[in-house]
């Protein structure tokens, strides 16, 4: 027996923080709120580190049982946590990046109203996210899954007096509901066929009964159905086609939220879930193909939109969607560890990009439009340099982190289909282009913003003041962010540079116990069949790598050409492209399409048929009438209650007589 790790504390600590700040925070000073939030979040991170340090001495995988939860017949789901290499990586990323972003947020949100509310939500998010990644069964995972959705909703709509923020929160919630619908049905199928939602039970059953659960190459079966439904859930949470529409709108939330929830952690939950369910996906090639295709198309699609965005956070949002697409592509070609590797590096550099963007926005008084930025390099050098590191990382330049993970994904994808690889490389080119476009527009050239306005505003966050919260600021003009914001930037910058040096191969070896212990005959067969082909391609790896680096370099060059060298060119190109440009700039009118196809019919139908027709005429009237009737009956029951003792005794005697008569009849029958 190993001593208990008290894994449960890792999610519980932030929950306590959330409760303390949520219930009492109103009376606390800002310092106290920040201390509570950081202490509990930091404690969770410290525990995660402590577990990581002694990880090699632990009997992995281990399950830590906390309490019974639901036991209905033979079905059983408990509060139990599961630790293996995969959940360790997720736990470290979530607590580590989460903690850094907490620190940053203290500086970023200092002037805002509802400070305690913000940190209470943020800690609450950590609780649910950690529950999600540490759960030992799908049901507990689903609790975390829904919980992070709730936290996301609350934080997107943090400035709830602003209509756009409230609407964005709702949109995120509703679109996620569609995905959850698929996830839930997958869970029901699992319960029906396996009688359990425990990872160990479900996967164990599948692995042991390979005749009953063969690789469904011939035709789609149960596992394919479950896999596809899980992917529907993942597409909702991780903003993949066609359910990605909520993520760009989610940028209405405060920037630390965008960094933590909508870039580094929550949106990667879908990737984690697919990787966790790899036993199912491995036996459902069709579902895997769908995952890969959805991922690839999303990566490309979102990258094209990213090119035409002018809002700095929106660019990053589309970039997130695109990068998540890469992760799904990796999962879809059964290169789960490559997907998780990219998830990790992405958490570093995308978290950093958002934080740095927040620092930029902070510096120029809440402006998010890149057309009104420029030349900020000299004003905010620390932000500039950290953002540079992140930009090179996401663009995939060696030796930055993104290079290693993206290269691995592309290489693994190329072994399954060159089409995946081709689209992947083209997307890498687009990624490099829009990221350097952002970089040049923000930091180089002349400052295009309204200097006067910036000074007059004195660096108030526009969003904050729109929320009706006066936030006086000591500085005037463009200013660098305080240290508390810069330190997380610096740490993330270091990670963005060096996070990939661990190497995709070593990372894969580390995760191997998770992903290869259930290695299927199918994949083994696939490997041996194509072994010759793959060896033949082995020496090609360098060529492939060179091509993707070249694509990134081309993106950089093009961005320099268009936005640094000849800034008048982009407009001319836009004019030349005409309709196509408008389509892309307007995000392919997908929101409008969804509005016409789904939202409007539902709203109209609800109003005319369900509300006026069914609800008001049928349900309300029936209910009102029956309530009326019930009150009348109730009044007459009241008469039984005369208050008269003899009549009470009479009732008792009457009842007794009835009971005795019945029992005598029963006895003599």
């Amino acid at each position: 027996m190993t001593p208990s790790l008290h894994l449960v504390l890792i999610p519980i600590l932030p929950l306590i923080g959330a409760a303390v700040n949520g219930l009492l925070g109103k009376r606390f000073s800002r310092q106290a709120v920040a201390t509570v939030a950081l202490a509990f979040c930091g404690a969770a991170f410290a525990m995660a580190l402590w577990i990581a340090l002694r990880f090699s001495s632990l009997p992995i995988p281990l399950t830590e049982y906390v309490a019974p939860w639901i036991r209905a017949g033979s079905f059983q789901a408990d509060f139990a946590f599961y630790l293996d290499q995969l959940s360790l990586v997720m736990m470290l990323v979530v607590t580590g990046v989460g903690f850094l972003i907490h620190i940053y947020a203290v500086g970023y949100m200092w002037e805002e109203g509802g400070f305690y509310r913000f940190f209470s939500y943020l800690n609450l998010f950590m609780f649910f996210m950690l529950t999600l990644v540490l759960a030992n069964n799908y049901l507990l995972m689903f609790i975390g899954w829904e919980g992070v959705g709730l936290a996301s909703y609350l934080l997107i709509g943090f400035w709830f007096t602003k209509d756009a923020a409230a609407a964005a929160g709702k949109k995120a919630f509703i679109v996620n509901r569609i995905g959850d619908f698929g996830f839930l049905i997958a869970l029901f199928l699992l319960i029906k066929h396996f009688g359990s939602l425990n990872f160990a039970d479900v996967f164990g059953t599948i692995v042991e009964n390979s005749t009953q659960y063969p690789v469904e190459t011939a035709g789609a079966g149960l596992l394919t159905a479950i896999g596809l439904l899980l992917m529907v859930g993942a597409a909702g949470k991780s903003a993949q086609l066609p359910l990605y529409v909520w993520l760009p709108d989610a940028m209405e939330g405060p920037t630390p939220v965008s960094a933590l929830i909508h870039a580094a952690t929550m949106v990667t939950a879908g990737v984690y879930m697919v990787a966790r369910s790899h036993v199912i996906f491995d036996r459902a090639p069709m579902a895997l193909t769908v995952v890969a295709i959805v991922g690839t198309l999303t990566a490309l699609f979102a990258a094209t939109i990213g090119i035409c965005q002018t809002d700095i956070k929106k660019v990053l949002a589309y970039s997130t969607i695109s990068q998540l697409g890469y992760m799904f592509l990796a999962c879809g070609v059964a290169a789960y560890s490559a997907g998780i590797f990219h998830l990790m590096t992405h958490a570093f550099f995308k978290g950093l990009l958002f934080l740095a963007a927040g620092s930029v926005i902070h510096a120029i008084g809440g402006e998010q439009d890149m057309r009104k930025m420029g030349g900020l390099r000299d004003h905010i050098p620390a932000t500039f340099w950290t953002m540079t590191a992140a930009t090179f990382a996401i663009a995939g330049f060696p030796p930055f982190a993104g290079f290693f993970s993206k290269d691995e994904i592309l290489w693994r994808a190329s072994q399954v289909s060159l089409a995946y690889w081709g689209i992947g490389v083209f997307t890498a080119f687009l990624t490099s282009f829009y990221m350097f476009r952002l970089w040049f527009l923000t930091f180089f050239g002349e400052y295009r913003g309204d200097q006067e306005a910036t000074q007059a505003h004195g660096g108030i966050h526009a969003t904050g003041s729109r929320a009706g919260v006066p936030a006086p600021h000591g500085h005037s003009g463009i200013h660098e962010s305080p240290k508390i914001m810069l330190i997380p930037l610096a740490i993330l910058a270091i990670l963005s540079v060096m996070g990939g040096w661990i190497g995709a191969h070593r990372f894969e070896l580390f995760l191997a116990p998770v992903f290869s212990s259930h290695q299927t005959a199918h994949l083994v067969a696939l490997t041996s069949e194509q072994a010759g082909q793959i060896t033949a391609m082995e020496h090609l790896e360098w060529v492939f790598t060179a091509i993707s680096v070249a694509a990134a370099a081309l993106g950089l060059y093009l961005a320099w050409l268009l936005y640094r060298d000849r800034p008048q060119l982009p407009q001319r190109i836009a004019n030349a492209l005409g309709g196509f440009y408008h389509a892309v700039a307007n995000k392919y009118y997908v929101d409008e399409l969804y509005a016409v196809l789904f939202v409007k019919p539902v709203v109209d139908g609800s109003t005319s048929i369900l509300w006026h027709g069914v609800d008001q005429n049928v349900i309300d009237d029936t209910l009102n009438d029956s309530a009326e009737a019930a009150r009348d009956v109730s009044d007459s029951v009241r008469h039984m209650q005369s208050g008269n003792l003899r009549s009470y005794a009479g009732w008792v005697a009457l009842g007794a007589a009835g009971v005795i008569a019945y029992m005598i009849w029963m006895g003599t029958r």
């Binding site: 309490a67 019974p68 939860w69 639901i70 036991r71 408990d78 509060f79 309530a627 019930a630 009150r631 009956v633 109730s634 009044d635 029951v637 009241r638 039984m640 209650q641 208050g643 003792l645 009549s647 009470y648 005794a649 009732w651 008792v652 009457l654 009842g655 007794a656 009835g658 009971v659 005795i660 019945y662 029992m663 005598i664 029963m666 006895g667 003599t668």
Partner: protein, 485 residues
Amino acid sequence: MNGAAQVTPQAVEYIRILPEIVLTIFGIIIMMLDPLMDERRSQRTLGAVGLVGALAAIVATLYQSQYPGVGFWGMVNVDSFSVFFHFLVTAVTAVVILTSYEYMEVQQIRAGEYYGLILFGAVGMCLMSSAVELVLIFIALEISSISTYILAGFRRRAAISSESSVKYFLLGSFATAFFLYGVALMFGATGSTSIAVIGQVLASGQPPVLAYVGIALMFVGLGFKVAAAPFHVWTPDVYEGAPAPIVGFMSTAPKAAVFAVLLRILFEAHAPGRLWLIWVVAALSMTLGNIGALVQDNVKRLLAYSSIAHAGYLLVAFAALPANGIPAAMFYTASYAAMNVGAFAVVSHLASAGERYVTMEDYAGLGRRSPLLAATLTIFLLSLIGIPATGGFFAKFYVFSAALQANLVGLVIIGVLNSAVGAYYYLRVIVVMYMREARQEVPVSPVPLGLGVALAISAVATIYLGVLPGRVLEYATRSAGDLLR
């Protein structure tokens, strides 16, 4: 016949009535201290002694659970079933004493024998759950009843309280007579008053008609105590008049104990012919209780009708198969105790001197004036409705699913429809608290420590049972196994 040969009981047999002994000793201490103390100061001291007594009884119960078995010539039996109810009764006692602290001062009632009577009542209730012999059950029932008769009349200045006490006493005696007569007939039919022996006799062949009548009479007596229709008529008047903390007490602890007795008599003694009897009584209780509550404006009366309805829900479990029905019923008593004691604790705090503020109108705007108190009451009310994440939800869930497994579809439909009706009047209180402006500002004094602790315990228990029902249900299932063995 167990231990009949031995003349003096062994030491371990005293452990099997240890909680009762502890409660009695503390009760006597209170009675002796009372005349020695200054009247104004006695309040708190006696309450503290009572609280210590209840806590000591909890400890004694936990200790006792290590020594299961029968004692005193087969009259008491300590098993996990009796330990469950001992724990429930003593815990409720402790919480009620905590609630009474402030109440007694505000109402300016002399504590005197008040706390003593609560402890003595608890002795009877504890004994009811461990007694396996009908005469002892009868005595325990009387100990518990007589204490509550007196406690009901403790607001001596209020005529309504005395009326409540007298009504309760007269009707209660009437009902007890039924029970005692049933015991006598049972003895006549089977030649024994030991539940185990009766069970053997009844299970061995076609039981005589006399046994049926005996069951019927005992059922009437016990049905009265749990306020099941049609023996419920006393409930609204008595609950309205009795002191609020005492209503919280007598609507939970004695009821739980009587339900324990019913479980023993109906299941351990293999009582014949119970199904339709219970079916009708359960359906009637749920329906009359809920319908009666709809038009109530007095919160105490409303909760009285609600307790009739809940007795009905609980009886549904009695109609189910023992293996599911017994644990469901036990879980229900526990969660009902948690939420109802809590609800009455809030009521007794808001009532103020002379219980002036007990109508719906007085609760208007409470959500704004005292948000924490309103939120706590809301938790209890939601649990009484049976909203998920509260104990009330799983209580109903287990009861109804047990009934479904016994194919009692009709009864479950009646039950579920009744739950929907019930939601109306509980929600009405919530709506009044949060969405209506007070016509006149009713003063709300700050919550004192004792009451705060009582509320916290009740609320935590309610939510615990609603979020992590597994452990308690598992224990109840094990107890049911003990009972049926």
